[in-house]
């Protein structure tokens, strides 16, 4: 397949690995921001091909993983209302809230519909004027334009029965939270390629400079990831801390300005709670006052009652998402907590660090066995 097979070329991968081997002289910890990158590193078996000096730490960029239990609780409470149809991406339905997941809510009579696009939810609202259709808008800068468009579409059609439950988060504030943590041990970042496709590179220069940390915006195929790692390690080995763009075939310096305009029209930056990390100032989006009739929280009030915090389940999502602990350091990992019976969100999505590590640790056992 064009634009795919070239980036999965074994010979190119080997060349990049040889080059990496040649320049690395000391241990480095690199964090890949995006869950899609984590998924690809594991899926392609890249982690065990890397030189032992290079350790990859899986970052917070999994939309399912960082959505706080309190938001799930709100979604559950809304789904249980008779007039509501709650629309969600499929990944979200298994994520545990403080009391139950959306999946459990559905089995108890909650009205939940899995959609693949926010515009499907708008269509549903149009077709069912007797229902209140709420779309659970989660994700990073990547999903924000489509979710904002859904609001604009609903406004254009004059729909009064459509709203969004927003739990949008932003990458740069999360990186800053990780870097300013006194236990931080991350030496460089692989920036999230698709987030930067929307937002461009500008937001990262100040971060790289302030914390003396290389940021290499990286794609998702094996050649992309290895080139991104190579560029980051080269910076580290030569004492540089710059923003580089490995994913130049997709990411432009200024990003996608049309998409940014749509986001700005509907959303404004606000404080957001992150699962396991807590409140990060100015780290997400909320619906602007002008579109408040499409904001489910404004429309239905704070109807959810949060009973206890996620840490009560024993999930250490916060430490995992900040790269402070590896999934295998969690006492529940692979025992009480598995992809089938997750205690916390990072074990749910295929892009979650724990779910990815769940497979990787099995691969480690494999490597240790005789060939």
């Amino acid at each position: 397949m064009k634009y795919l097979s070239e980036y999965r070329n074994a010979a190119v991968v080997k060349k990049l690995l040889t080059e990496l081997q040649a320049i690395v002289t000391q241990p480095w910890m690199l964090m890949e921001i995006c869950g899609g990158q984590t998924h690809s590193l594991v899926k392609n078996g890249i982690l065990e091909m890397l030189p032992p000096e290079v350790t990859m730490v899986h970052g917070p960029g999994c939309p399912v993983c960082v959505t706080p239990a309190s938001m799930i609780d709100k979604a559950v409470a809304l789904a249980m209302r008779q007039e509501v149809v709650l629309c969600s991406f499929g990944d979200m339905v298994r994520v545990p809230g403080s009391r139950k997941s959306l999946q459990q809510a559905r089995s108890e009579g909650g009205n939940l519909k899995i959609v693949y696009s926010p515009l499907d939810a708008v269509k549903l609202a149009q077709e069912h004027p007797e229902k209140e259709v709420i779309f659970f808008a989660v994700g990073f800068e990547t999903t924000a334009p489509a979710n904002a468009l859904a609001v604009l579409q609903a406004a254009k059609q004059g729909l009064t029965n459509f709203s969004v439950l927003v739990s949008h988060v932003l990458v740069p504030p999360a990186m800053e939270a990780i870097l300013s943590d006194r236990f931080n041990n991350i030496n460089a970042f692989l920036g999230a390629g698709h987030v930067c496709t929307v937002m461009g590179l500008q937001e990262y220069y100040a971060l790289a400079q302030k914390y003396r940390v290389p940021v290499v915006v990286t794609g998702f195929e094996p050649v992309d990831l290895l080139e991104g790692i190579l560029l980051a390690v080269r910076q580290l080995e030569t004492g540089r801390a710059a923003v580089e763009n490995q994913y130049a075939r997709v990411v432009r310096e200024s990003g996608n300005e049309a998409a940014q305009a749509v986001i700005r029209e509907v959303f404004e930056v606000a404080d957001r709670e992150w699962r396991g990390i807590g409140l990060i100032p100015q780290s997400g989006y909320r619906v602007r006052e002008q579109y408040r009739q499409f904001d489910a929280e404004q429309k239905f009030g704070e109807s959810a009652e949060v009973l206890f915090s996620e840490t009560d389940t024993g999930c250490i999502a916060g430490e995992i998402l900040r790269g402070l602990k590896k999934p295998a350091q969690c006492p529940h990992f692979g025992k009480a907590c598995t992809p089938l019976y997750p205690l916390g969100a990072p074990m749910v999505s295929s892009e979650g660090a724990c779910a990815a590590y769940f497979h990787f640790s099995q691969a480690c056992e494999v490597t240790a066995s005789p060939h």
Partner: protein, 339 residues
């Protein structure tokens, strides 16, 4: 079928006049054969030698999809389960659970597909049943078929016969059925020419058994859960390792594109017209050539890996780029990625 009604009512399942009319004009007319002709409570027939017996229920949404419908699946699925026992399928039972309000035209189309598929597979539907449930108590139509087949005299198909060194053979490209369904599923429809691979595979299997007999150690069709699930099941059952190579797994370009677009792993996507054979190393190349010669279904057959003593109970994939990863048992349905 006479155009006497548009939609099913509970009366069609009550055993009275409407049931009789439904059977005479539909099932009996379309699927007629000497056994159904008897209008008896069951079929009486003679079969000799080792027999295989299997059953399966069919629920699929949507009922009609590119390349087939629930009717094709209900025949081919059971035929293929018999084939996986090394058997030539002979007789099927056919039971419907219909939801009140289900359209007669759709039922007729499904029956026609059943007639076509059973003629293609060379099986006879010899007994059956129809029930109608209240609206909301079913989902349009559920079908159950059971099947009886005669086992090939040389067949020794048993997971216990799988040995380290056995080659893992796949009879055609993967993931076509699941992606065809996905392309027309509500809310996800995308334009494509994807087609389900639903087809009977017993002629290919019997040809392998004719030529290689007990060197065909085991057979399994990778339906629900796809190739990854089947390989994991067999790895666990035999406590041997399955080592496969990504490069060797046949996958059609369109199917790959659809999987990439949705972020799905083709190894976990359902198939309805291919099978996996564990064959002794000695005959593996000849077996592959034989499958490939049986065009068109076998042209893309491939040896995708082998059975090893390392990593017992696990499936390990060598990736395109030479890395290795465990192919785990799936935990629930694959969902398209958020971003």
């Amino acid at each position: 079928m006479e155009k006497t009604f548009e939609r099913f009512t509970l009366a069609h399942g009550s055993g009275g006049e409407l049931t009789s009319q439904l059977l005479e004009d539909g099932v009996f007319k379309l699927l007629q054969n000497e056994y159904l002709q008897k209008r008896h409570d069951g079929a009486v027939f003679e079969l000799s030698g080792r027999l295989a017996f299997t059953t399966d229920s069919y629920v699929v949404s949507p009922l009609f999809f590119p390349g087939g419908c629930i009717g094709d699946l209900a025949v081919n699925g059971t035929v293929n389960d018999l084939a996986m026992c090394g058997a030539r399928p002979k007789f099927l039972s056919l039971s419907f659970i219909l939801e009140e309000g289900f359209s007669k035209d759709e039922f007729h189309a499904i029956l026609s597909a059943i007639r076509e598929a059973s003629a293609t597979a060379g099986v006879l539907v010899v007994t059956g049943d129809t029930k109608v449930v209240e609206r909301g108590k079913g989902d349009k139509i559920f079908i159950n078929t059971s099947g009886i087949g005669q086992v090939h005299p040389q067949a020794q198909v048993d997971a216990g016969n799988i040995r380290p060194g056995d080659r893992i053979l796949i009879s055609g490209p993967v993931a076509s059925h699941g992606m065809a369904i996905m392309s027309v599923r509500e809310g996800l429809a995308f334009e494509s020419q994807l087609q389900s691979d639903t087809a009977p595979v017993h002629e290919q299997v019997l040809a392998l058994l004719d030529a290689f007999g007990s060197d065909i150690h085991f057979l399994r069709d990778p339906t629900r859960g796809g190739v990854a699930t089947v390989l994991n099941e067999i790895a666990r059952q035999t406590n041997l390792g399955m080592a496969i190579t990504e490069q060797q797994i046949p996958l059609e370009g369109q199917v790959q594109s659809a999987c990439e677009m949705l972020g799905l792993d083709p190894l976990y996507v359902a198939n309805e017209g291919i099978f996996i054979a564990w064959v002794s190393e000695a005959v593996s190349v000849a077996a592959l050539q034989q499958l490939q010669a049986l065009s068109p279904p076998g042209q893309q057959a491939a040896i995708i890996g082998k059975v090893v003593t390392e990593h017992p109970g696990q499936v390990v994939l060598q990736t395109f780029i030479g890395g290795r990863r465990v192919v785990a048992m799936p935990s629930g349905e694959q969902l398209p990625r958020i971003c």
